[in-house]
């Protein structure tokens, strides 16, 4: 009881209350100091990318550390797109196509399969569900060699479809959509069926509009994943026409002579779209990450 009174009447001029208060404020101050220090550390790489992207090569390589460019070199960004050694524009275009196709079709296919598994009666449904769940066991990146063999057999090397299509089928997203549609009130669906809707009509008119939240969450995660992917695009899309922005940046990083301002300007351009997506859609991304927490 004593402690609870201290909590409630903390402002009273009692020694015990005063001590508790002092302790509380000290703890809070330490927490904020820790948080601010960690934030500075976590933000530092972002600062570094902007600093180097706006400096001249001599400024970056100077022996004295310059915290900020004498004069911001915005020309680094225009030079980037005029640089004949790297094709940044094509990389950005390819990445945008791949990420958008991935976002639309991965979400669509997973929600369709999830709806079928949750709502449409079918004998032998269990076998389909088991087959989909089984693929969750297989670590995707490790199977890149066998998948490469199959895609190469189908003439998918150095094509955009070869990069994007194998990643469109997410068993995990299917599983999440199934769970979501199982919880969807069946009365609404039955009412729509009685009104003469086919299964397709129910899906299109009732379930799709009501699952936009989970679609946004999973869709934005698939967008981020495919924009940032490196292993698969570097295997399949080595040619100049099919390089994604990550492959362009990687070959720039490992080139013989390195133009540091251009490299960092390129990194900034490659990262900027996702930072914007992140700032705008953080709510959905957080929701998507939480859902992936149950994957383990």
């Amino acid at each position: 009881m004593q402690t609870i009174q201290d909590e409630q009447w903390g402002t009273l001029e009692r020694p015990a209350a005063a001590r508790t208060n002092a302790l509380k404020w000290t703890t809070l101050a330490i927490r904020y100091i820790l948080l601010i220090a960690l934030t500075v550390v976590f933000m530092f790489p972002f600062y570094l990318i902007v600093r180097n992207a706006l400096m001249t090569q001599p400024e970056i390589t100077a022996f004295e550390w310059n915290w900020w460019p004498e004069e911001a070199q915005w020309g680094n960004f225009t030079n980037l797109f005029e640089n004949s050694e790297i094709d940044m524009a094509k990389g950005l275009r390819n990445s945008a196509i791949i990420a958008v196709v991935n976002l639309v079709f991965q979400t669509l296919f997973a929600s369709m399969a999830g709806y079928a598994l949750a709502r449409i009666p079918f004998r032998g449904k269990g076998i389909f569900f088991a087959a989909i769940l089984l693929t969750l066991m297989v670590p995707s990146a490790v199977t890149f060699v066998p998948t490469y063999v199959v895609v190469a057999k189908l003439d998918g090397v150095n094509t955009l479809w070869g990069i994007v299509v194998p990643g469109l089928f997410s068993a995990f997203a299917t599983f999440l959509f199934r769970q979501f549609y199982l919880d969807f009130p069946s009365e609404i669906e039955e009412a729509a069926r009685l009104d003469g809707n086919s299964y397709f009509g129910v899906y299109w008119r009732m379930l799709l509009p009501n699952s936009l939240g989970i679609m946004a969450a999973l869709g934005v995660l698939s967008f981020i994943g495919s924009w940032n992917a490196f292993l698969w695009p570097v295997i399949i899309g080595q040619s100049n026409d099919t390089q994604t922005v990550q492959v362009v940046l990687s070959s720039f990083l490992t080139a013989q002579t390195i133009n540091l301002p251009a490299l960092f300007a390129g990194a900034a351009v490659g990262a900027a779209p996702l930072v914007i997506v992140f700032l705008l859609l953080q709510r959905y991304i957080v929701q998507g990450v939480r859902m992936s927490g149950i994957k383990g």
Partner: protein
């Protein structure tokens, strides 16, 4: 008379309004197959077929060819398991996982607890730690290799050493004694993934019933270490297992930062210092076009990851939650 006419009428209506393909049992089966077809066909071609074909090709001599048929039994498996580079790569990834998994676990849990414990500015701090998740491994490798851990005097880490009064210039990536490159690789992945796992921990923390803390408070336990160990940590059990497994599986498939920081797609650079299995398989299968050995190695690694996941699950009692 009347009843007969009515029944005739009804059957006419029935036939007119509901064609056979709209009859419930047919319609449901058709709809099911159409809705599930893209997923099943896709997984069949790009997951099941590769595993099947990969298994066959792993028993074939397949250099510079994608065809099977030149059967060699278990030769590819024997070859790759007796290859010191492959065994080194397994050792490398175990060392890497041994660092990155616990560090990520405690740092993301610690940050989640800190963020959860403050009211003012909570969503700002959450965003600040979460936003590195948006950055790709390639971009992070550029920052780490050319910015922070640049081996030349103007690299930020060397600059910090200089500010502390030392003239020493460390080649962070090439130096083998001590192996500083581990510091580069581990901090890079930490920065990229801690925010992701912090979000999962925050979700777990918010699911804990606050009345537990209130009950403990009435019993005299003030918020602090004691309530953390007696309430918070046990209640985060399932979340912790999920974080450990996800993080472990991801670490075993490390590729991007190793190849970009240590080497390059065209050159192997310093990759001999720490070559993870995926980089080794990439060099064998894509570089040397030896698909037989590459597939054998991929299947060995798949089996290894599944086995360790299952064992970890057993140790932590995964599945006991039901």
């Amino acid at each position: 008379m009347q009843t007969e006419a009515e029944s005739v009428d009804r059957s006419n209506i029935y036939v007119a309004r509901v064609p056979w393909w709209r009859q419930t049992k047919w319609e449901a089966s058709f709809a099911f197959l159409i809705f599930i077809a893209p997923m099943i066909i896709g997984l069949a071609i790009f997951t099941f077929l590769p595993i099947f074909w990969g298994t066959l090709i792993s028993f074939s001599e397949a250099r510079n060819t994608l065809d099977i048929g030149n059967w060699v039994g278990f030769d590819n498996y024997v070859d790759i398991l007796s290859n010191p580079e492959f065994r080194d790569s397994l050792y490398t990834i175990i060392v890497f996982a041994a660092f990155i998994v616990p560090l990520t676990f405690f740092l993301s849990l610690g940050i989640a607890l800190l963020v959860n414990s403050v009211g003012f500015g909570r969503s700002f701090f959450r965003s600040a730690f979460f936003i590195p998740t948006a950055i790709s491994y390639v971009v992070a490798s550029i920052i780490w290799k050319m910015g922070i851990f640049n081996g030349l005097p103007y690299g930020f880490a060397n600059m910090v050493i200089y500010w502390f009064g030392s003239d020493k210039i460390i080649a962070w990536i090439g130096e083998t004694d001590p192996p500083y490159y581990w510091l580069v690789l581990v901090t890079c992945r930490l920065w990229l993934q801690v925010g992701f796992y912090m979000i999962i921990f925050l979700a777990g923390l918010q699911e804990i019933d606050q009345s537990l803390y209130e009950a403990a408070y009435v019993d005299g336990a003030k918020p602090g270490w004691r309530t953390f160990w007696t309430i918070t940590f046990p209640m985060l059990r399932n979340t912790s297992i999920a974080v450990l497994l996800l993080n472990f599986i991801a670490a075993f498939q490390a590729f991007d930062e190793f190849i970009n920081i240590l080497g390059g797609v065209g050159s192997s650079g310093n990759l001999s210092l720490a070559r993870p299995p995926l980089v080794y398989l990439y060099q064998v299968a894509i570089g040397q076009q030896d698909y037989g050995r590459g597939s054998a190695g991929a299947l060995i690694l798949t089996a290894l990851i599944i086995a360790i996941t299952v064992v970890q699950g057993r140790i932590f009692g995964f599945g006991r939650r039901n």
